[in-house]
């Protein structure tokens, strides 16, 4: 018979992560609101590079996902895991390293993204040194977690912990695979994948970042905090186990639904679509399981702000996961893709599910962590209602905007012509809705500020040095029946279920990933054949310099470069894009949102002077445009000196440059630029021979004519 052991939970680390969650949430919300108003009123870009939409949007998404949601996840995981496993975290030192490492990563993100250091892949914008730091810190987190599970005093691993394990393992794999790149400078790099390969890896990552960063960890938290807050066991524990395994297996296959109707091979699109539709079942099973847990305690929804937030979060989980599979159907995607519909979908998840679940959790945690009562339940209720109002305003406006623009862009008259040939008209139509969305965001922020005050007061009125919670438990015996006195370390490891689960998850995602990445093999050989047959030419040094500017400025946040195989896309922009056309694109820039027109075939559509004037002042050239002006491109100089190095790295990645191309890159770029400048000057424009705008123009003029 074993002795009862007394031990303390590490509450300090949870307090740290909780405070960080609140601090970064503020940053994420402010950035989001600012860019929302930039959409409504383009002048807010102020011609300042660091705050233009294209650079600020990645800051908003990264802050929301990795800083706000990330810290919330860590707080919740560290709190609940210790308690369901009846043990302190494995190492206080690793926990601290994890905390400070993660904050440092966020700060470096905030210091690089506004300066245009980006990999140009959504939710994976951070450059290679930061990517390495993320890997290190993430592994530290995972190691801490696994070792904690190994030293648990309860044999059974509560379902929430499985969700956490899946989160750790999957995100590690996704992040590493998607971020592989070769540096050409201390900060910048080119991805190892090109074109369609990059697109498939990116959306395999992007989709599963949502699945395993914004869904599985939060589901784990849901399965802990809902039962705790209503003091009832989860409705069906068996269902929660099924929920877990089905999600892990199905999610990983669904990535290609971000690329429907594109140049990706049809069968891959069908696989993505089929698995997305299957997700309906486990997602709703989980959502209903969460809500039924509250059954019989509905009075608490009325009285307890914690339960309110958690219940509504779960409902939003249900809404978002109902809509997701719907949008993954080709014909629905045809309307929704590239429009605000997707933005609305994301925000019903982010504001409703992740946001409200985090808020509910924090209202639950703060009194426990500081050993006191919440300062004001009434203020928490105010937060709830103002926040809900904010979400509703946001969603109503942006769903309407998305569907309006989607329908306008695809409407074709009986005569077979576009009903709205002028792209900008579909943008100006929805500007009023952008204002409403901004106001919705302000409401959401307002509610949050009430929360900050409430938490601040709670902590202020609590006793100083809240300390760690103490608990006691009897350790379970690893092997009751055949107790092995010589059972050493390796034996215990083999016994340990967490290892088993980790392996299981690795395998689940491994197989899924393989299937979804398989089209890459097929397409790479197609591309190779076509490359040889058509003699596609890689980018000239100057075009490449221009392309890097395009990536740096985040033009992809407003422009796609992928003409889909749909009637309206073809009527509007030309022949569907092919895989070969983006074969040299590192990163691929297919985009996910069209606030401006597709640019895949914009080359030779306008004279150089048009682009010159348009980039300087879009509104002067196109009435009603909301594109920011890029005045600094006319002053800043092209970095010619680095071009040899850039081409060299590209060559090492397999791009068919000759030795001579690499060695003469700088000289050729200079003479190409001089030619464009000469032409512009002949048309009366003023431009220097090393102005960045020349590189950008040379890139834009090449789009669609890559032969």
């Amino acid at each position: 018979m074993q002795q009862v052991e007394r031990f303390k939970y590490d509450d300090g680390i949870v307090r740290k992560f909780t405070i960080a969650t609140l601090a970064w949430a503020l940053v994420a919300f402010l950035a989001g609101i600012y860019i929302a108003f930039e959409m409504a009123y383009y002048k807010l870009n102020f011609g300042v590079p660091y705050i233009t939409f294209g650079r600020l949007r990645p800051l908003h998404t990264n802050a929301a996902v990795f800083a706000f949601a990330g810290n919330a996840i860590f707080a919740g995981i560290y709190y609940s895991m210790q308690r369901v496993l009846k043990t302190r975290l494995f190492s206080d030192k690793i926990s601290k390293f994890h905390f400070w490492g993660w904050q440092l990563i966020i700060v470096s993100a905030a210091l690089t993204l506004p300066f245009g250091f980006t990999q140009g892949k959504e939710y994976a914008e951070l450059e290679w040194p930061i990517d390495i730091a993320i890997t290190v810190v993430w592994v530290a987190f995972g190691y801490n977690m696994i070792r904690t599970i190994l030293q648990r005093r309860v044999k059974h691993i509560y379902v929430a912990v499985w969700f956490y394990i899946a989160t750790f393992v999957t995100v590690a794999v996704l992040h590493v695979v998607n971020s592989l790149s070769i540096p050409f400078s201390l900060i910048k790099s080119y991805p190892v994948y090109a074109g369609v390969s990059d697109a498939l890896v990116q959306w395999w990552y992007g989709h599963n970042a949502v699945a395993f960063f914004l869904t599985t960890p939060f589901l784990g938290l849901m399965y802990y905090f809902i039962p705790k807050s209503v003091n009832r066991p989860v409705y069906s524990y068996r269902l929660s186990v099924v929920h877990f395994w089905t999600l892990v297996f199905i999610y990983i296959w669904a990535g290609p639904h971000h690329l429907l109707n594109t140049a990706v091979p049809d069968w891959a699109q069908t696989v993505g679509m089929a698995f997305s539709v299957m997700l309906w079942i486990p997602s709703w099973g989980g959502m209903i399981n969460g809500l039924l847990t509250i059954r019989g305690a509905w009075d608490k929804v009325r009285t307890e702000p914690v339960v309110k937030f958690l219940a509504v979060a779960t409902i939003f989980y249900g809404m978002a996961t109902f809509e997701g599979p719907l949008l993954a159907i080709k014909s629905v995607s045809e309307i929704g893709h590239y429009t605000d519909w997707i933005i609305a979908h994301v925000h019903s998840g982010a504001l409703g599910w992740n946001g409200f679940l985090s808020f509910g959790m924090i209202y639950y945690l703060v009194p426990k962590l500081w050993n006191t009562e919440l300062y004001s339940k009434r203020l928490a209720n105010v937060h709830f209602w103002v926040g809900t109002l904010g979400i509703l305003l946001y969603l109503i406006a942006i769903y309407t905007a998305g569907i309006t623009q989607g329908l306008m862009l695809r409407e074709v008259s009986d005569a077979g012509r576009l009903a709205y040939p002028d792209f900008v008209s579909s943008v100006t139509r929805i500007i009023p809705l952008y204002w409403i969305r901004g106001v919705g965001g302000l409401c959401y922020l307002g509610g949050f500020i009430v929360m900050l005050y409430n938490v601040r007061m709670t902590v202020k009125l609590a006793a100083k040095n809240p300390g760690d919670t103490e608990d006691e438990a009897v350790p379970y015996q690893a092997k009751e029946s055949t107790a092995d006195p010589h059972g050493g370390f390796s034996h215990r490891i083999l016994e340990a279920a967490p290892m088993v689960l980790t392996v299981l998850v690795v395998v689940a995602i491994g197989t899924g990933s393989l299937i979804s990445l398989a089209p890459m093999f097929a397409s790479s050989s197609i591309v190779e054949a076509n490359y040889k047959a058509q003699m596609l030419k890689p980018y000239t040094a100057l075009e490449l310099a221009g392309r890097d500017i395009y990536v740096r400025e985040g033009c992809y946040t407003c422009h796609s470069q992928m003409i889909r195989k749909t009637v309206s896309d073809v009527l509007r922009f030309g022949n569907p894009s092919t895989i070969e056309e983006s074969v040299f694109d590192r990163p691929f820039q297919w985009g996910s949102r069209r606030i401006g027109p597709d640019l895949a075939r914009v080359g030779s559509k306008y004279p150089d002077l048009w682009h010159y004037r348009h980039m300087m002042n879009p509104q002067e050239v196109v009435n009603g445009s909301i594109m920011p002006s890029y005045g600094w491109l006319f002053k800043d100089k092209i970095d010619y000196a680095i071009l040899n190095k850039k081409l060299d790295v590209m060559k090492s990645l397999g791009v068919p440059y000759s030795e001579n191309d690499v060695e003469t890159a700088e000289d050729r770029a200079r003479s190409d630029a001089a030619k464009i400048a000469e032409g512009l000057r002949a048309d009366g424009a003023q431009v220097k021979d090393d102005s960045e705008i020349l590189a950008l123009i040379s890139y834009l003029q090449r789009l669609g004519g890559a032969k």
Partner: protein, 65 residues
């Protein structure tokens, strides 16, 4: 020309190896008895608060422990 695909080729055997581990791991988890009792765990998490005695400790000592 390989377009950086060699990395993915490296991933294939790795994933297959994981597949082999899958089978072994699955038998394990069932034999470990993780799924034997699917009732108690759901209830057990609700009891943790009872053993909490942080409050008394702070009161008694007048400071944190």
């Amino acid at each position: 020309m390989n377009f950086g695909m060699e990395i993915v080729w490296w991933l294939v055997p790795a994933a297959l190896a994981m597949g082999a581990g899958f089978l072994i791991a699955f038998i394990w988890s069932a034999r470990n008895g993780q799924y034997e009792d699917l009732e108690t765990p759901a209830v057990r998490i609700l009891f943790e608060e009872e053993s909490k005695n942080k409050k008394e400790q702070i009161d008694a000592a007048g400071r944190t422990l």
